[in-house]
């Protein structure tokens, strides 16, 4: 059993894990461990994991950094993000450790905390314990339970009531090691009443080793809070990313999650959104560009628990060569959630005969006055459109490029930060051109 080695590792090193972390995190481990032992890793017999064999990703022998040795790389010297205006509020997670040196000198408003999960849990134990682990549903998610067992640090954004952080924050997740390596990251975003915050999280790989990164993100949007959470994955082909994002939204809050998978090895992103107050609005979107033998699986679960909420899911995949994509979107409208509006769209382009896409819309509706729709299409490039462009003198490859870019355009349009959208459009174009889609001056990636 693959689980055994991890169970043994946890049991043997439990005191070490605890000693390098904080009470709030440690308190959750026992429960997580019990759940993990019961569930084991999700295999393909589970409907939600039918098309993604995540179990095999845990087979390799990975190193852990349980004693929290610091990495040698100084990300600030190496990393120059080429998204102007975004680069000022830059934070780093080196593997799964918050990088405390060289933090941005920005004076955030009083009460705001942006930084290490451990520090937050120590300095604000009351707030941390109120939120940490409270929305992640471990009982249905063995990998989130696994993450909770081992996690020792992470990144926190805490915005008290009525505070607006105008400038986007940026978190760079860097994978670096000299052996095959397993990291467990944790993100916690708490936006108080009437607050606003935007975060861009970028995944980068520095070394050519094999990595497995689990990530659990918990997002709390209190009444009338507005959160934008952008994720950009630019990992190497040797990286397995298993991420779960849990969102809980109160009255009149809006949350946008937009994930762009530009380069990866094996990726599974889970999104669980609970619309827990009236007039809340959630948008969960994603673009996937995959080639070689890359594998990307997005799973979204939108739970309409209260009336008058709106949710939109928009996922687009462009698969080339032998890439495999999977999308499952589930909308649950609970009995009381009248006047729900829920849309789901998944459009996929298989640009090679060997690319494969599995797509599965699921609607579960218990209220009787709702507006829900789902649409999915999987196809090839429109031959008529391709010919039309060529008939105007545009070379076949360029015409394909235009059409592929156009295909992803509406997801990128959902990005509300202009400079970021422009930059991403550029990166997507580069990616389609087959050039290395790297963040310009990012020295780490070079």
């Amino acid at each position: 059993m693959i689980e055994t080695q991890y169970i043994d590792l946890f049991t043997e090193h439990r005191s070490l894990i605890d000693s390098k972390s904080t009470k709030v995190l440690n308190d959750e481990r026992n429960k997580a461990f019990e759940i993990f032992k019961t569930l084991g890793f999700p295999d393909r017999s589970l409907e939600d994991y039918q098309y993604s064999d995540v179990v095999k990703e845990f087979i390799p022998d990975y190193g852990f950094n349980l004693s929290r040795l610091s990495t040698q790389t100084n990300p600030y010297n190496a990393y120059k993000c080429n998204v102007p205006e975004l680069s000022t509020n830059l934070f780093f997670l080196m593997n799964d450790t918050f990088h405390k040196e060289h933090q941005p000198k920005t004076d955030f408003p009083k009460g705001v905390f942006i930084g290490s999960l451990n520090d937050f849990a120590e300095q604000h134990a009351d707030i941390a314990s109120k939120y940490y682990g409270k929305v992640a549903q471990l009982e249905n998610n063995a990998i989130a339970a696994f993450n909770t067992m081992f996690v020792q640090d992470g990144f926190v954004i805490y915005i008290p009531d009525n505070i607006v952080i105008e400038q986007p924050l940026q978190l760079i997740n860097i994978l670096t090691a000299n052996v095959d390596f397993l990291v467990n990251r944790r993100l916690l975003i708490i936006a108080g009443k009437n607050s606003q915050v935007k975060l861009l999280a970028c995944d980068h790989t520095v070394d050519s080793h094999k990595f497995l990164a689990t990530q659990v993100t918990e997002i709390f949007a209190e009444e009338n809070a507005h959160i934008e959470f952008y994720e950009l994955e630019e990992n190497s082909n040797q990286v397995t990313r298993l991420a779960s994002t849990y969102v809980q939204q109160e009255k009149s809050s809006t949350v946008l999650v937009n994930n762009i998978t530009l380069n990866c090895g094996f990726t599974r992103n889970n999104y669980h959104v609970k619309l827990n107050g009236e007039n809340a609005e959630a948008t969960i979107a994603g673009v996937v560009i995959a080639d070689k033998v890359q594998h990307v699986d997005n799973f979204a679960f939108l739970d309409h628990a209260k009336p008058h909420c709106q949710s939109t899911q928009l996922f687009k995949y462009v698969l080339q060569e032998q890439a495999v994509g999977s999308f499952c979107g589930r909308i649950l409208v609970e009995q009381d959630a009248q006047k729900t509006i829920a849309y789901q769209t998944n459009n996929n382009l298989c640009a090679s005969p060997d690319a494969r896409m599995y797509s599965k819309p699921q609607l579960e509706i218990y209220a009787d006055d709702v507006k829900c729709s789902h649409g999915l299409t999987t196809g090839q490039l429109d031959e008529d459109a391709l010919f039309y462009l060529r008939a105007r003198g545009i070379a076949k490859e360029d015409a394909k490029l235009l059409l592929m870019q156009a295909f992803t355009a509406d997801v990128l349009k959902l990005i509300h930060i202009d400079v970021l959208r422009d930059r991403l459009e550029e990166l997507v174009e580069k990616r389609f051109r087959g050039e290395e889609a790297r963040c310009g001056d990012c020295a780490i990636c070079k």
Partner: protein, 253 residues
């Protein structure tokens, strides 16, 4: 000097069915040719074959364009050589803006001629000038190619693209179909303004109506994949009056 376009004994199939069966046609600079004929005669097939639509297969014959073997060229190369088709059914391409589309097209043709890409300001000036020619408003640039365009707008957009690309030979495939009289006038006026001594136009049409606005030098009747009669502009009027029966009766099986 070689003809601008010379078609000899052209045979073409779609899905194994022969549509063009030995078609001959010659077009020279400064000329406007009208190709008329009943439904199913092969008019649109001719247009499609000339611009290299991959759905059609040429089985016999030859086509030269300024002396070059046209059939050897990819569709984009034909366009860059100066061949243009105004599509009967312009294709909607969501997500590709007209400005990006036209910039790409203009620059590809320039590259083909060994010219540098057009300067941004010159390009915008050109766009403005040409869209005004066919009465399209300033929102055109940011709209997706043909998406949400009315029938008339789509056809005007075709002529706009023709004006932008300045082809040597333009083929208008049923450009009059689905147009009201105002749109027809705008389209025809656009085409006439683009007419020069060093370019040519083939107008494919079912009705004589468009030819009141675009005066052809030659009128050809296409029937069963062949040109069965060629004459001057008076032929169009005669066809309008008498229909096709008097011409095609000799060619029926």
């Amino acid at each position: 000097m070689a003809n601008l376009l010379s078609i000899k004994n052209l045979h073409a199939n779609i899905d194994g069915k022969e549509i063009l069966r030995g078609l001959d046609l010659e077009v020279n600079n400064g000329e406007i040719h009208a190709i008329m004929g009943p439904n199913g005669a092969g008019k649109s097939t001719l247009a499609s074959v000339l611009v290299g639509n991959p759905n059609f297969e040429v089985t016999e014959g030859e086509v030269t364009f300024e002396g070059k073997d046209l059939l050897e060229l990819a569709p984009e190369e034909r366009a860059c050589e100066g061949l243009f088709l105004s599509f009967q059914y312009p294709v909607e391409i969501p997500g590709v803006s007209m400005v990006n589309f036209m910039r790409a097209a203009v620059n590809e043709t320039r590259k083909h001629k060994g010219l540098e890409p057009i300067a941004a300001s010159d390009f915008l000036k050109l766009m403005k000038e040409k869209r005004e020619l066919v009465d399209l408003d300033s929102t055109l640039a940011s709209r997706s190619v043909n998406e949400g365009f009315s029938g008339g707008e789509k056809k005007r957009n075709e002529i706009f693209q023709m004006a932008m690309l300045d082809p040597k030979l333009a083929i208008l495939d049923e450009t009059d179909s689905g147009l009201d009289i105002d749109a027809l006038r705008i389209v025809a006026a656009g085409v006439n303004k683009l007419r020069r001594k060093d370019n040519a136009t083939i107008v494919i049409t079912h009705y004589q109506r468009l030819l009141e606005y675009i005066k052809p030098d030659f009128v050809h009747v296409l029937y069963k994949g062949k040109i069965v009669k060629s004459a001057g502009p008076e032929l169009a009027l005669e066809l309008e009056e008498k229909g096709y029966d008097w011409i095609i009766k000799d060619f029926q099986d």
